[in-house]
């Protein structure tokens, strides 16, 4: 199997998300970066599938030069090849991002076989547009199901399970296919020593794209209004138990 995983570099904020004074971006002055959790699981899933059935995995991102950090992290987990469509740093809208990924898939497939599977996250952690994977799949003419928490590879098809409030839906989709996965599908591993060495050596392939802007334009970012409440300290240590149970009784849950 040849598998492509699409990831996005996002800031990793702590207690709150601060916005730059012009309202155009998250203030990342004191932040580290990561890939979205759903995508980390997509990478892990690709590596596990390759371990089970053979083949290789490729990781792709559309982002600034610094996104190499996330690509190399994916390689440290067991992905073989990495590709970058370089932006000027500003986030591309979903239509443009999808078009750039389609260009990159074309370029990467030219140099080898078609990808049997293209994996996405269910939604990106920062913009959460719920659409890039769907748009890519439609442009490639391939089937796509989002929200997947279990993947089994069969003969020329993949069985994919999506949890719902009432239980789960099961899909059987012919390959080549596109799937969006959710955190919880697996437990991502930590980089191994060998993986770390590979990630230092791997050459990140640059892919060109002429994708043009789509119809959605960000005007500004801002924080939702927080309701500031004074915290009532019920006590310290075990001695607080009586006050806590008073509260639980008062609200009718104890």
């Amino acid at each position: 199997m040849r598998i492509l995983v699409c990831i996005k570099r996002v800031p990793a904020p702590g207690a709150r998300i601060n916005v730059t004074p012009d309202g155009q971006a998250v203030d990342t002055a004191h932040l580290g970066f990561a890939m979205s959790p759903h995508e980390e699981c997509a990478v892990e899933e690709a590596v596990q599938i390759v371990e089970r059935v053979g083949g290789s995995a490729v990781v792709l991102t559309v982002g600034p030069a610094e996104a190499e950090e996330q690509l190399r992290y994916a390689v440290s987990l067991g992905v073989e090849q990495a590709a970058l469509v370089q932006t000027d740093g500003a986030d591309w809208d979903p239509q443009r991002t999808a078009a750039a990924i389609v260009d990159a898939v074309g370029a990467l497939e030219e140099s080898g076989r078609a990808f049997d599977l293209v994996l996405f996250g269910n939604e990106s952690a920062d913009s959460g547009g719920y659409q890039v994977g769907v748009r890519v799949a439609y442009a490639l003419g391939r089937p796509m199901v989002n929200g997947i928490k279990r993947i089994e590879i069969g003969q020329g098809e993949v069985t994919a399970t999506r949890p719902t409030d009432a239980g789960a839906e099961v899909y059987r989709v012919p390959l080549p296919a596109v799937l969006g996965v959710k955190e919880g599908i697996n437990l991502p591993r930590y980089p191994t020593l060998k993986g770390r060495l590979n990630s230092k050596k791997v050459e990140v392939g640059l892919v060109e794209s002429n994708a043009v802007a789509g119809g959605q334009h960000m005007v500004k970012l801002f924080r939702p209004t927080e309701q500031v409440s004074e915290t009532v300290i019920l006590g310290a240590g075990a001695d607080a138990a009586a006050a806590v149970v008073d509260l639980l009784e008062e609200i009718g849950v104890a």
Binding site: D126, Y138, P143, F222, T231, V253
Partner: protein, 318 residues
């Protein structure tokens, strides 16, 4: 015309679907647009009744052999064709996983932008939407022949306002190929209290220290008829299954009280707990974000505090 795509499961319209009907009706009224409902698949008649009860009609019932059960490509194609044939300039649905999925499918087919998880639409079409699961907001504009948006779940209260239900049938032309993403099988879970519906959630974070450490949380949750939740550090350590995770990439909870033990209160955790009626933080650090943002707090080691609470409950019950 503003077309509301009605979210339903074989006829029954969940709260989320009623929210989109309410939001769509309100928006159409404000924009001076006629409004209509698109109901896809089995149970469409019944779902169209619910649309009418929320002021959205006439109902277009999409029927086709390939629409008997859910399938993202079949539904997306149907929405795209209906939007064009019926002459919609705005298409509205709800920001659930399936709502967003089918709207993305439809938008891809029409090469139109799609704005997911909106909170409000201003008269000048400045749209406020959620990022980071709601921790950050964005104002956005769209250049589009057909504006496609979903309203975030919980962004509006469903309000009934009955109109007479007139229905007509709409038969899309579907390629057999779309059958490749139809649901093939369903696993039905026994109904019961879940993390998202529990009235008490006792959550544990890194401060719990180990998988075994959760036994004191299990005990308290058991006494209160609640559920145990956890932070992402806990799932990443393999201490609890991901289905217990509260937060942006986990479950959003809304209990009467959330007892958050040994959890620092990172924004991605907070956004999953913010809908709780009350939050009680138990933490050794009185400066922890969870403590400063909570309604109530106990400062101390959860391994002393939680068993003491369980003991006190048992003592009072006699």
């Amino acid at each position: 015309m503003l077309l509301v795509v009605v979210e339903h499961d074989r006829g029954s319209v969940p709260i989320a679907g009623k929210e989109a009907l309410t939001a769509g009706r309100e928006l159409a009224g404000r924009l001076g647009l006629p409004v209509a409902a698109l109901v896809i698949g089995a149970g469409a008649e019944q779902a169209a009744e619910a649309a009418g009860a929320h002021g959205v009609g006439p109902g277009h019932l999409a029927t086709h052999d390939l629409l008997s059960d859910y399938g993202p490509e079949a539904w997306g194609e149907t929405i795209a064709q209906a939007a064009i044939v019926l002459g919609a300039s705005v298409v509205v649905s709800v920001g659930t996983d399936t709502g967003n999925e089918v709207m993305a499918q439809a938008a891809a087919r029409m090469d139109q932008p799609f704005v997911a998880n909106c909170l409000k639409v201003a008269d000048d079409w400045t749209i406020t939407r959620m990022r980071w699961g709601g921790s950050l907001l964005e104002d956005t504009t769209v250049d589009a022949a057909i504006r496609m948006i979903t309203f975030a779940h919980h962004a509006v209260e469903p309000v009934e306002s009955a109109v007479a239900v007139v229905t007509s049938s709409f038969e899309p032309g579907l390629e057999p190929e779309v059958s490749r993403t139809l649901v093939r099988d369903r696993v039905v879970q026994a109904a019961g209290v879940t993390l998202s519906t529990a009235s008490v959630v006792v959550g544990g974070g890194r401060g719990v220290g180990s998988p075994e450490g959760f036994s004191v949380l299990e005990e308290l949750a058991g006494l209160l008829g609640g559920k145990v939740g956890c932070s992402r550090v806990v799932t990443n350590n393999g201490w609890r299954p991901h289905s217990d995770q509260v937060g942006q990439t986990g479950t959003k909870i809304a209990p009467e009280i959330y007892i958050a033990c040994g959890i620092s209160g990172a924004i991605q955790h907070w956004v999953g707990a913010a809908a709780s009626k009350r939050i009680l933080a138990v933490n050794t650090d009185k400066e922890a974000n969870m403590v400063t943002k909570a309604d109530y707090a106990v400062i101390g080691d959860l391994h002393e505090v939680i068993p003491a609470i369980s003991n006190e409950i048992r003592r009072r019950r006699g």
